[in-house]
């Protein structure tokens, strides 16, 4: 049986590694490395290849969670990672200067994949910034026709990560048209 995988993407620090750690049965395989460039001011480590976690279903089948590296210079890897993927979660860090532009960038980069599957947007770091409003996020998604879920989440909470995945699964099952 082919590999079942869900892809999590988003800007550096949006919480991809944290989200995978929150829900994975195995500690995420981290490929983080010390930050060297301007990101160093923000974070100590960043993911350079991918994060990887897993869930085991009752029939023994595994669902893999892949976190893409956040930095755009790893864009070439995104296309490889999504091949055969079931669906996408985009995490948007609200403490960054222009979260809506960040969202647009990922929507554009993953457009083909989203068309074939579906996407859930997790709005993170709400404790640090209450803007943009959810309405503004939904406006950015309007052009898709389908209404993809946008949730405020704390990726450190397992339940929030679970909910994003459940909503994604529901979207894949019921809202592909």
């Amino acid at each position: 049986m082919s590999e079942i995988k869900l892809i999590i993407t988003g800007t550096p620090g949006a919480g991809k590694t944290t989200a995978i750690a929150a829900i994975s049965e195995t500690p995420p395989v981290r490929t983080d490395t010390a930050t060297t460039d301007d990101l160093a001011e923000v974070k100590d480590v960043t993911t350079v290849a991918m994060d990887f976690g897993e869930l085991t279903l009752d029939d023994g089948q595994k669902v893999f969670l892949y976190g893409t590296p956040g930095q755009q210079r790893f864009e070439f890897m995104w296309k490889i990672l999504v091949q055969g993927g079931l669906g996408l979660i985009i995490l948007v860090d609200c403490s960054r200067p222009d979260p809506l532009a960040d969202l647009d960038m990922y929507l554009e980069n993953f457009a083909d994949f989203i068309h074939q599957t579906g996407v859930v947007v997790g709005v993170t770091r709400r404790d640090q910034s209450a803007t943009p409003s959810l309405d503004e996020f939904y406006e950015r998604l309007e052009a898709w026709g389908r209404v993809f879920p946008v949730f405020e989440v704390d990726v450190r909470q397992k339940d929030d990560v679970s909910l994003m995945i459940s909503a994604l699964i529901s979207t894949l099952e019921f809202a592909t048209a």
Binding site: D58, V147, V150, S166, I169, S170, F174, A175, T176, A177
Partner: protein
């Protein structure tokens, strides 16, 4: 001889009604007389006077009498017999004759037009209140006060907020209070205990749970069961995360061209009353849009755009297993 009483009428309206009944004489199929409330065949309810109406509904009215709604504007209540203010002899005669023909056989007299959705068995006719969801949708007063024996919730319809007094139960459980134990009063003053209250909350969860819990399996009357339903955005997680059905419905209503009730039924096995409650909740919280199929013949009667990536049946099983894993 037939008798009729009234509830909540202004003194002037009551006088007009009595005078009209005296004058109508032979113009009705049966003779009708005004009598005090309690033992009459029919009752005229001034539905603009919500306090009086609520009181009448709450206090042991006779289920066999026939209510006639009397309102200043055409109202959207599940009552078979209606009169628009002010009283007009011709309208009154028509309604009274309809009631007579109901009881004595339909062959003569104009029968009231059967409502499209055949609501003859709606509890309101026999004295019960329209579902709370309907009352909220139609609320024209500033406030709606909901009280159980121990808890009161005040919905500020004008300002999209609500407050609670003596909160014992979470909202959703409170709204599960049996309808006859829940007193609903439409009012323009906040009422005792709510003066100067500052603990207002967004009314979204209240409206949501009213739609979900208090719809009595009926779509709001402003909604057309044949339309395509779509949501503008997903309900907030706290409102849908406890039930897989709500996630499924959110997704179904997220489709590009929305869904019909029939499509929901064929795509899922969600009970009809759950679907109705969800759609009403979406409507009451302002995230629902509808497209009437009838009005857009070409565009919508065609099947929705071909599914670009249909969920293969094999995936159905996979999705179910992933879900099961996530709820552990």
């Amino acid at each position: 001889m037939r008798t009729i009483s009234s509830v909540g009428l202004s003194q002037k309206d009551e006088n007009v009604l009595k005078a009209l009944l005296d004058l109508l004489g032979a113009r009705t199929r049966e003779a009708w007389h005004y009598a005090p409330a309690g033992t009459t065949d029919a009752v005229i309810l001034d539905t603009d006077n919500r306090d009086a109406l609520a009181q009448w509904l709450a206090h042991g009215h006779d289920r066999t009498l026939t209510p006639i709604a009397y309102a200043s504007a055409p109202i959207d209540l599940p009552v078979e017999h209606r009169l628009t203010k002010p009283f007009r002899a011709a309208d009154l005669i028509a309604v009274l004759n309809t009631i007579s023909s109901r009881d004595t056989g339909p062959e003569s007299a104009e029968t009231a037009e059967p409502r499209e959705d055949a609501e003859a068995d709606i509890p309101f006719l026999s004295g019960a209140i329209p579902p709370l969801a309907q009352q909220v949708a139609e609320c024209r007063t500033r406030y709606l006060r909901l009280s159980s024996a121990r808890q009161t919730v005040l919905l500020d319809c004008a300002n999209k907020r609500f407050a609670m007094k003596h909160p014992e139960l979470p909202l959703r459980e409170f709204l599960r209070t049996a309808p006859d134990q829940l007193d609903v009063v439409a009012c323009d003053q906040p009422g005792a205990g709510f003066e100067g209250i500052d603990s207002w909350q967004s009314d979204t969860p209240l409206r949501w749970w009213i739609g979900v819990e208090c719809s009595s399996a009926r779509l709001l009357r402003s909604l057309d069961s044949s339309s395509r339903f779509k949501i503008l955005r997903w309900p907030e997680p706290g409102l849908i995360k406890h039930s897989q059905h709500y996630l499924s419905l959110s997704a179904l209503l997220s489709r590009k061209s929305g869904v019909t009730l029939a499509e929901i039924a064929s795509a899922s096995s969600i009970a009809a009353d759950v679907v109705t409650g969800f759609i009403n909740a979406a409507s009451l919280t302002g995230i629902l849009t509808t497209r009437t199929v009838k009005n857009e013949p070409g565009a919508v009667l065609a099947p929705p755009a071909a599914d670009p990536a249909p969920a293969a049946p094999v995936n159905k099983g996979l999705f179910a297993r992933i879900r099961a894993r996530l709820t552990l």
